[in-house]
């Protein structure tokens, strides 16, 4: 009967129900979008690091992220190769550069110079052209989602990066950049030329360990032999990049702040409507109390009302959030929804509604059953 009473109380006042659901829906959509953007941003920030085949990253001191790194002289590679436990060391160049669009105008791009044959970072999700073809003169690979941004139409288009001519030879999908500067993959030798680096110079050295080698031991050895460089594990480099872009720039704080605002607004709206509904049904709750119901029984009715609101609001909110997520797929900052986030949002909605029920429960706890005799 608790479920029936809660359901009827909830659906008795349709306008109030709609207000409640809009409150939850608004909250869910806002939190889903904000946290989805946050996850999307994280995925973009660490995309290169996650796809590189390296257990350790050697980089210049003070490197903040993949896109903002100092330069290594080149001799570090030879020293690293002599360290026990190191299987291979692949140089990689990553740096911002100016991209001149074919029809005029410039934009910022990030050159990623790498030789996959060395165990470097190869472009992934290639959807047009051939990744091997970027070894050809002037050939580069870019992500399809940035074609407009780069002033391109597709494979074969010609543009200019810094002072060098480039030709699009391959297109990838889903390699997006948090900085909005598209990644441009090319062989490392050409990247060095464009960025005017010496033949051995690079911004990163990707270290692959031999089978059975201990990451921490190798890292210590490398650090000892390369006192002027930083040796980071993949996880450390991920964290450093995330800290820089999400918290150093304030972008992540804004996204999380937006999500918290969503939770707050949702909680307040649901609390207000639940409280008003309880107040409307106070006479009925007093009757229930007079009939001998325990306080827990009445609290259960209110909590079930809150849970029903949560379930309905979550269903509607997630439906809208999924549509927005779908629409954002091709945008520069796609929203990410994971099963974990969806489950987390459900728990959050239930918690939000339970907390919202608190004021109503407090009200009903103070109920005077003697009011049933009020004429």
């Amino acid at each position: 009967m608790i479920l029936i009473l809660a359901f009827r109380n909830l659906f008795h006042d349709r306008i109030r129900l709609v207000v409640t659901l809009i409150g939850i829906l608004f909250s869910i959509v806002l939190v889903a979008v904000q946290l989805g953007l946050y996850l999307g941003a994280r995925k973009m920030i660490v995309g290169m690091i996650d796809h590189a085949n390296a257990e350790l990253w050697i980089t210049a001191y003070g490197t903040k992220s993949f896109e903002e790194a100092g330069t290594l002289s080149g001799r570090e590679r030879h020293i690293a190769l002599a360290v026990p436990g190191v299987a291979s060391v692949a140089p990689l160049v990553a740096s911002f550069a100016s991209w001149l669009k074919p029809q005029g105008g410039t934009t910022l791009a990030v050159i990623v110079g790498t030789d996959p044959a060395d165990g470097g970072l190869a472009p992934w999700n290639v959807v047009a052209g051939d990744v091997a073809s970027i070894a050809e003169p002037d050939a580069v690979a870019v992500d399809r989602s940035y074609l407009d941004n780069l002033g391109l139409k597709g494979i074969g288009d010609i543009a200019q990066i810094e002072t060098s001519r480039v030709r699009v030879a391959a297109l990838t999908e889903g390699i997006r950049s948090f900085t909005t500067a598209p990644y441009v993959f090319m062989p490392i030798s050409r990247a060095r030329n464009i960025l005017q680096l010496a033949q051995d110079q690079s911004t990163f050295l990707l270290v692959k360990l031999a089978d059975g080698a201990d990451v921490e031991t190798v890292r210590r050895d490398l650090a000892k032999r390369l006192p002027v460089a930083e040796i980071l594990t993949r996880e450390e480099f991920r964290q450093r990049s995330l800290d820089h872009w999400l918290f150093g720039t304030g972008a992540g704080v804004a996204l999380i702040g937006g999500a918290l605002l969503g939770i707050l607004v949702g909680t307040v709206i649901v609390a207000q409507t639940l409280y008003a509904s309880t107040k409307d049904h106070l006479g009925e709750f007093a009757t229930l109390r007079a009939l001998g119901s325990s306080a827990g029984y009445i609290h259960s009715v209110i909590l079930v009302q809150a849970a029903l609101s949560a379930a309905l609001g979550y269903g509607l909110g997630m439906s809208i959030a999924l549509v927005i997520i779908q629409l954002s797929e091709k945008s520069p900052l796609p929203i990410v929804m994971t099963p974990m986030l969806a489950a987390g949002l459900l728990l959050l909605t239930i918690a939000m509604c339970a907390i919202s029920a608190f004021a109503a429960i407090m009200k009903v706890t103070r109920i005077d059953p003697a009011m049933v005799f009020a004429k």
């Binding site: 009967m1 608790i2 029936i4 009473l5 009827r8 109380n9 008795h12 006479g283 009925e284 009757t287 229930l288 109390r289 007079a290 009939l291 001998g292 119901s293 325990s294 306080a295 029984y297 059953p369 003697a370 049933v372 005799f373 004429k375």
Partner: protein, 253 residues
């Protein structure tokens, strides 16, 4: 009247407020409610009827005095313990019916049963039987708003019967009803009192209800000033035998 008292009240005093604003609503009420007896509690407005009903019904607590319900002293009980006493022992019928407007007749009765721990199919069967006993077997799924006042009060009576409590308290059950429905409802309440394991107390202003009473208590200014049994309960001639006063009567000074 038979057996021991289902409810025993001794020297009940109820004070509201404090200091100069203190009001003594009850000034020392003692009474017993016996099984098989329909008692009317009458008195002018402000005499303490509702306060007394609230205390006897374990909804309010007395300032002093003692109350025993079905052999259990309620003195010093917490609100939750009093709720448990109500749950096991007391059914209420209210002047304004106090039905849940969003629930059907049978659901209203089922709710009271659910509170008392009778749920599921057993609850449905008991609720159906209770509504049949008040002549509403054809209105099980009707909502209160579609029912007449008399029908609503009969649902409330069926609800008070849910779980067969030994005490039924009715607060002005006929006040909102026309003469015909009022008499029908009182006849129904009288029928409840025929159960020898149950005592029924009705607070009323309505003199048409006198004919149904086995006993009439009159309260004035917080004191029971008259307690008399009458031998003329209309539809219950069997109870004309052996009427002896059991109430504690205090005459007004």
């Amino acid at each position: 009247m038979s057996g021991r008292a289902i409810l025993r009240a001794r020297d009940l005093v109820k004070e509201h407020g404090s200091g100069a604003a203190k009001v003594r609503a009850l000034k020392g009420v003692s009474l017993d409610l016996m099984p098989g007896e329909l008692t009317l509690l009458m008195g002018p407005s402000g005499s303490g009827k509702t306060t007394l009903l609230s205390i006897l019904g374990c909804i309010l607590t007395q300032t002093s005095g003692h109350l025993t319900v079905n052999g259990q002293s309620t003195d010093g009980m917490s609100p939750e313990q009093l709720a448990a006493i109500r749950r096991s022992n007391i059914g209420f019928v209210f002047q304004s019916y106090n039905l849940f407007p969003t629930l059907t007749a049978i659901e209203n009765v089922r709710l009271a049963l659910d509170v008392r721990g009778h749920s599921g199919k057993a609850g449905i069967a008991m609720a159906t039987a209770a509504l049949e006993s008040v002549g509403l077997s054809h209105r099980l799924t009707a909502y209160p708003r579609t029912m007449s006042g008399g029908e609503q009060q009969r649902v409330a009576i069926a609800r008070s019967l849910a779980g067969s409590p030994p005490l039924i308290f009715a607060d002005e059950p006929t006040a909102a009803l026309d003469a015909e429905n009022g008499l029908a409802v009182m006849a129904l309440i009288q029928k409840l009192a025929r159960d020898k394991s149950r005592a029924v107390l009705v607070v009323t202003h309505d003199h048409r209800t006198l004919q149904f009473a086995d006993r009439i208590l009159t309260i004035e200014d917080g004191l029971i000033v008259d307690d008399r049994r009458q031998a003329a309960a209309t539809v219950h001639p069997a109870r004309r035998r052996g009427k002896a006063a059991s109430g504690h009567v205090r005459r007004k000074a």
